[in-house]
């Protein structure tokens, strides 16, 4: 099955990392990526760096809702609830 022509270049492999990490590659695609990684230091490093990048990005705190905006939404909700219960 695996002819030499079938081999991915580094450039092609790094294009597939998000797909690979999402588990969205086909079985054959996955196998080709792993075969390449087994022999390629550069791509192995970049994959590790992708994982590190994802991990660090995951540590960013999500934006908080500014207090006045939060209060405005709460008041809006309370008004809505009053009208809605008045209607039903």
């Amino acid at each position: 099955m695996s002819e030499p022509d079938d081999d991915l270049t580094c450039r092609e492999v790094v294009e597939r990392f998000t797909e690979y990490l999402d588990g969205a590659s086909t079985a054959g695609g996955r196998e080709r990526i792993e075969r390449h990684l087994a022999e390629c230091l550069g791509c192995t490093r970049v994959l590790a760096q992708f994982r590190t990048t994802i991990e660090i990005t995951g540590k960013l705190p999500e934006d908080p809702v500014p207090r006045d905006q939060r209060e405005a939404t709460r008041h809006f909700f309370l008004r809505w609830r009053e009208t809605a219960s008045g209607r039903s």
């Binding site: 999402d22 994802i54 995951g58 960013l60 999500e62």
Partner: protein
């Protein structure tokens, strides 16, 4: 339809929203309103209009929750309501935002600099011209320096809006790819391309933090 069934917490939350529970509503506001505003802002011309969109979307949520069938996750459904309202308003403002400007005009270009690879005609064409350096001094588990986080934050802020939103939802907020593509009305392929591009740029921004040249 999202692959994951609604967890018990979510069913409970939906019940409480139906009953008009203020705490349940405010917990949604805390978790989702910043994303709602960002998504609205992609399609309308000002922050004020985006705030109107979000308010309208909350009305849609509060009314629609009675009939919500849980075929997608609650947060996916809510963001979809936001983007539908925002797109309609954007059209009325005659500000139909071209998809290309949201996703970034570089979206078809390879996310890695082609110069890093050997060119066509060479024996190892498409392979690294210089092997990428190893990252050193990586943070220990849970201990990421504030300045490193600031680098990531700045890198995300400079992305085209849709790339920024995809990486925020996937990697900052931890949504699944299915939730993100439903929430933002993207194809699976588009979602992945945008995420890949965003991650490649954040990786690039982090590179100097962890390579030797930058440390000496």
């Amino acid at each position: 339809m999202d692959a994951t069934a609604a967890p018990v917490d979510e069913l409970d939350l939906i019940e409480r929203l139906r009953a008009g529970d203020e705490d349940a509503f405010m917990s949604l506001v805390d978790r989702l309103q910043p994303a709602m505003l960002r998504v609205a802002r992609m399609y309308v011309q000002s922050q004020a209009v985006a705030e109107d969109v979000v308010q309208e979307a909350w009305i849609g949520v509060l009314q629609g929750i009675q009939r919500f069938e849980g075929r997608s996750s609650l947060r996916t459904w809510i963001l979809r309501i936001v983007s539908n309202i925002a797109k309609t308003k954007g059209r009325r403002e005659s500000r139909s935002v071209p998809f290309a400007s949201l996703v970034g005009d570089d979206v078809d270009a390879p996310p890695f600099d082609p110069d890093r690879f050997l060119g066509p005609g060479q024996e190892w064409s498409g392979h690294w011209s210089t092997v990428p350096g190893e990252w050193l001094g990586l943070p220990e588990d849970r201990l990421v320096a504030a300045e490193t986080l600031a680098v990531v934050r700045r890198a995300i802020e400079t992305l085209p809006p849709m790339q920024a939103e995809v990486i925020r939802l996937r990697d900052v907020a931890g949504w699944s790819s299915e939730e993100v593509r439903n929430a933002l009305d993207l194809t699976e392929t588009n979602q992945r391309v945008l995420l890949h591009r965003a991650r490649a740029k954040v990786r690039r921004a982090l590179e100097p933090e962890f390579t030797i040249e930058a440390r000496t």
